[in-house]
C-alpha cells in the first residue's frame, strides 16, 4: 500500500473508533420536576441518580459502555412529560427514569408502550423509582415498566400489621389527598384493617384537595372531635408538613401513621410533639442498618447541606439491580436488560430484594419506624431520629396481582 493510502486508512480507522465511542454511551433520560413546586424532591432525586451513575462509570461502565444521564424538566405535568419524552427519544435515550407523581407515571407508561409498539427495535425501558399507585403493576401493567418502590397497598399492609399488634389502637381516622394515590391509600387502609383487626373503628375517612389546603386546623378539629387515637395518612410534601404542624399547634395527641413522614420539613414541623407518635413506612431509614453508613457517607460528602439529606435508598437498589441485569444479559439493550431484570434477586444493605417477573414490582424489605430521641443519626438537625418498630422481609410484602402482561416475542 502506498504511504498516502496507509495514512488515510489509519485516519479512517481512528475516526471510526472515535465515532463509535461517541455512540457508545447508554443514554438515560431523567424526567422529573426541576423547577416549580416539585423541584425540591426532583432535584434531590436527580443528584442521587447522577451519583450512582458516576459510580458505575468510575468502576468501568457497563458492558464496555459509559452511562450518561440526560435531565428533562417536566414540572410534574403529564403532558409536559410526554413532550420531554419525545425530546429524550430524539437525543437517543433508551432508558427513562421517573418517580414524582403517579399521574405522570401513568402518562409515561402509556406513551412508552405506544412508542415501543410503533417502533420495534427502538424500544425504551421505563424505570419507575417512586410512583406508587398500585394500578401501575396491576391493571395498567406493561412489560416495559419496572417499579423500584413498593406500591401503596404493600406499604399499607406493613403498616397495618404493626397497628394490628398494638391493642391500644382502637379508633382510626383516615385523611388523604383526593386523587388516585390518596384514594388507594384510604381504600387499602379500610380493607386491611377490617381483615386484621375488625374491632378497630374507623371514625373518619377524609379526602382533601391535593396541594390546595393551607390551613389544616379545621381538619385537626374534626380529628379531635372524632376521638381518634391514630391517624393514617398518605399525604406527602406540603400536605403532610402542614397537617402535622396544625396538629402540633392544637396539641393533638394521636399516632401519626404516614407514608412520607420523612418529607423534607415534616420532622421539623412536628418537633417534640412527634416523639413516639410520628411513624412512617419506607424501604429504609437512616438508622435501619449500619450497612448503610458507608454508602450514605459518600453521598453526603459530595452533596452536603440540609436540603441534600439522603432520601432515596431505593435509587441505589435500582442501579445495583440494573447493573446486575445488564451483566447477566451481557448487553445494554433494553429488551435484553428487561428480561434479565425479571426475577432478579439481590442482596442490599438492608436485606434481600427481588424483582417480580409477573408484574415487574420490586419486593424489598419495608421498615415501619417511629420518631424518637437519642438515635445514632437524627433528622434535619432536630435531635430526633427514626427507630425501627418492625421490619417486613421482601417476600412477605408480596401481594396478589391482577396484571396480565403482554410479553413481546
Amino acid at each position: 500500500m502506498s504511504r498516502c493510502k496507509r495514512i488515510a486508512t489509519g485516519i479512517g480507522f481512528a475516526a471510526t473508533l472515535l465515532a463509535a465511542s461517541a455512540w457508545a454511551d447508554v443514554k438515560i433520560a431523567f424526567i422529573d420536576p426541576l423547577s416549580g413546586g416539585g423541584a425540591a424532591t426532583g432535584i434531590l432525586a436527580q443528584k442521587t441518580h447522577q451519583f450512582y451513575i458516576d459510580a458505575i462509570n468510575a468502576a468501568g461502565g457497563l458492558n464496555g459502555e459509559k452511562l450518561e444521564l440526560l435531565s428533562f424538566d417536566n414540572k410534574v405535568n403529564p403532558q409536559e412529560s410526554l413532550v420531554q419524552l419525545k425530546r429524550a427519544l430524539d437525543e437517543g435515550a433508551r432508558y427513562v427514569v421517573q418517580g414524582n407523581g403517579s399521574g405522570v407515571a401513568l402518562a409515561l407508561t402509556d406513551a412508552i408502550q405506544k412508542h415501543n409498539e410503533r417502533n420495534p427495535g427502538k424500544e425504551v425501558l421505563y424505570l419507575n423509582y417512586a410512583a406508587v399507585d398500585p394500578v401501575l403493576t396491576n391493571e395498567k401493567c406493561n412489560f416495559w415498566h419496572f417499579r423500584f418502590d413498593s406500591d401503596a397497598d404493600m406499604k399499607m399492609a406493613a403498616m397495618v400489621d404493626v397497628i394490628a399488634r398494638d391493642p391500644k389502637i382502637q379508633r382510626v381516622y383516615l385523611i388523604n389527598q383526593d386523587y388516585s394515590f390518596g384514594k388507594a391509600v384510604a381504600a387499602a387502609a379500610a380493607r386491611m384493617l377490617k381483615e386484621k383487626r375488625p374491632d378497630i373503628k374507623i371514625v373518619g375517612d377524609e379526602l382533601h384537595p391535593l396541594q390546595k389546603v393551607n390551613d389544616f386546623s379545621p381538619y385537626v378539629a374534626k380529628i379531635k372531635a372524632s376521638g381518634a387515637d391514630t391517624v393514617i395518612t398518605g399525604n406527602w410534601s406540603n400536605d403532610l408538613v402542614l397537617l402535622v404542624k396544625a396538629g402540633r399547634d392544637a396539641g393533638l395527641k394521636v399516632n401519626w401513621e404516614t407514608y412520607y413522614g420523612d418529607s423534607p420539613g415534616a420532622v421539623t414541623a412536628i418537633g417534640e410533639a412527634g416523639v413516639d407518635t410520628l411513624k412512617h413506612v419506607s424501604e429504609w431509614h437512616r438508622n435501619a442498618s449500619s450497612e448503610l453508613d458507608t454508602s450514605i457517607a459518600a453521598f453526603s460528602k459530595r452533596y452536603s447541606g440540609k436540603e441534600n439529606e439522603f432520601v432515596y435508598w431505593r435509587i441505589k437498589t435500582m442501579w445495583d439491580m440494573f447493573v446486575a441485569a445488564a451483566k447477566k444479559a451481557q448487553s445494554n439493550e433494553p429488551a435484553k436488560v428487561a428480561r434479565a431484570l425479571e426475577g432478579l434477586k439481590m442482596n442490599t444493605g438492608v436485606g434481600e430484594v427481588e424483582m417480580r417477573a409477573d408484574n415487574h414490582q420490586i419486593l424489598q424489605p419495608l421498615f415501619v419506624s417511629t420518631l424518637v430521641r437519642g438515635t445514632k443519626f437524627d433528622s434535619e438537625g432536630t435531635g430526633l431520629g427514626w427507630k425501627t418498630d418492625a421490619k417486613v422481609d421482601a417476600k412477605a410484602t408480596a401481594l396478589p396481582t391482577t396484571c396480565k402482561m403482554e410479553r413481546p416475542k
Binding site: 443528584k47 428533562f72 403532558q79 403517579s102 405506544k114
Partner: protein, 427 residues
Amino acid sequence: MSDAAIAAGVSASRTSVLRGRALMVVLTAIALVVLPLLPGFESDFARSLLTQMAIAAVFALSFNLLFGNTGLLSFGHAVYFGLGAYAAIHCMRAINHGLPLPIVLVPLAGAIGGLLSGIVFGALTTRRAGTIFALISLGVGELVYAAAFILPGLFGGEEGISASRTKAVIDLGFPLASQLHVYYVVIAWAIIAAMLLHAFIRTPVGRMCHAVRDNPERAEFVGYSAQRVRFISFAVAGLVAGIAGGLHAINYEIVAADAVGAQRSGTVLIMTYIGGIGHFSGPVLGAIVITWLQSSLSAYTAAWQLYLGLFFMLMIVYAPAGLSGLLLRHRRIAHGGALARVLGSYVVAAVPIVIAMAGAVLLIEMSYRLATQPELGTRMRLLGMSLDAASTWPWVLAVCSLAGGLALLRMTLPLVRVAWQRALQAP
C-alpha cells in the same frame, strides 16, 4: 373622471387586494406543508414542537376573539380548551372501542364540547364586561379545575383519560402513528379554525364585537344587545378553543386536569398579549415565540421562568402593542431608504442592549447557581467563558456590563428616535 370609471377603479383595486391576500394564504399553506420536511426539522422532537405551536396558535386565536376583538379579558379560558379536549378524548376512546368514525374527525367532538361549555358558562358570565368578567372567569376556572379531581369518572382525576390515535375501525389510509402525520392533521384543522375565525370577524356580529369592545353603550343605540354580542363571541371562542383541545387530545393521547388549569389560562394570556392583540396574526406569533421559549429555554437554564417573566414585563411596559404591533409599525415606512436607515439605527442600539443583557444573564445565572445548586460547585461556563462564581471579578464584570450597557443605550436611543422621525417625514 366619470363615476363608472371611479367605480371600476375601486373594484379593480379591491380584487387585487383580495388576490394578494389569497396568494398569501396559499403561500403560507405551502410553507407549512413543506416545513417539517426541511433539514433541521426532521426529528420527532422538532415536528412535535411545530405541532405544539400550531395547537397553541389556534388556542391563542380563540382567546383573542374574546380579548382583542370583544374586549373580554378572561383568566379562565383554558376551561373551554380543556372541556373540548376531554370531549375529544372520550370520543377517541369510543372510536378505540368500535365507534365508526375516522380519528381525523375527533377535533369536531372537541369543537362541540367547547361550544356547549361556551354556551353554558357564557350565559352566566357575559352579562358584564371588564373587571367583573375577568374575576368571574377566574372563579369559574378554579371551580372547573377542582371539579376535574372531584369527578374522576368524567375527568380521570390526576391521571387523566387516555386513548390511542391509531386504533380505529375506519382506516383512511393515513395512520396517525408518526408525528409527521399528526402534524399534517393539526395544520389542516388549524387552517380551518383560522379561516373560521377570520370569516366570523367579517360577519355583522363579528364587526359588532369591535363596537361592543370600544363603546357598548353606543352599540346598544345602534340596535344590538351588547350582552348578546358578547355571548355569541364567547360561544364561538369556546368552539375554536375546543378545536384546539381536540388537537391536543390527538397529539398527546392523554388529557389530564391541567388542561383546564390556571397555568394554561395564564399562558394563553401571555402568548396573546406578547404576540399582539391588535392584529389577527398577533396571537399566532405570540404562540410560536412563547411555545419555543417554554420548551427550549428550560434546557439551557434553570432560571427560565425568571427570563420569561422579565421579558413579559418589559413587553408590557415598552411594547404594549405586542410583537406584531412592533413589526407592523414598520409597514408605514416600508419604502426604500427610510426603512434601511431605521434598521441601521436598530443595529447600533442593539450593541448596548446585548451588553446589558449579557451582564444581566451573568448575574442571574451565578445567583441561581449559588442559591439552588451549591453542590455543582462554583465553576461555571457562561457565554463561552469559564468563571468561578465565588470570585469577585465575574460579578464586577456583570454589574459593569449591565450598567454600562444601559448607559450606552440611553445615548443610542435618540439615534433610533431621529431615524424614525426622518422616515415618517419622508414623502
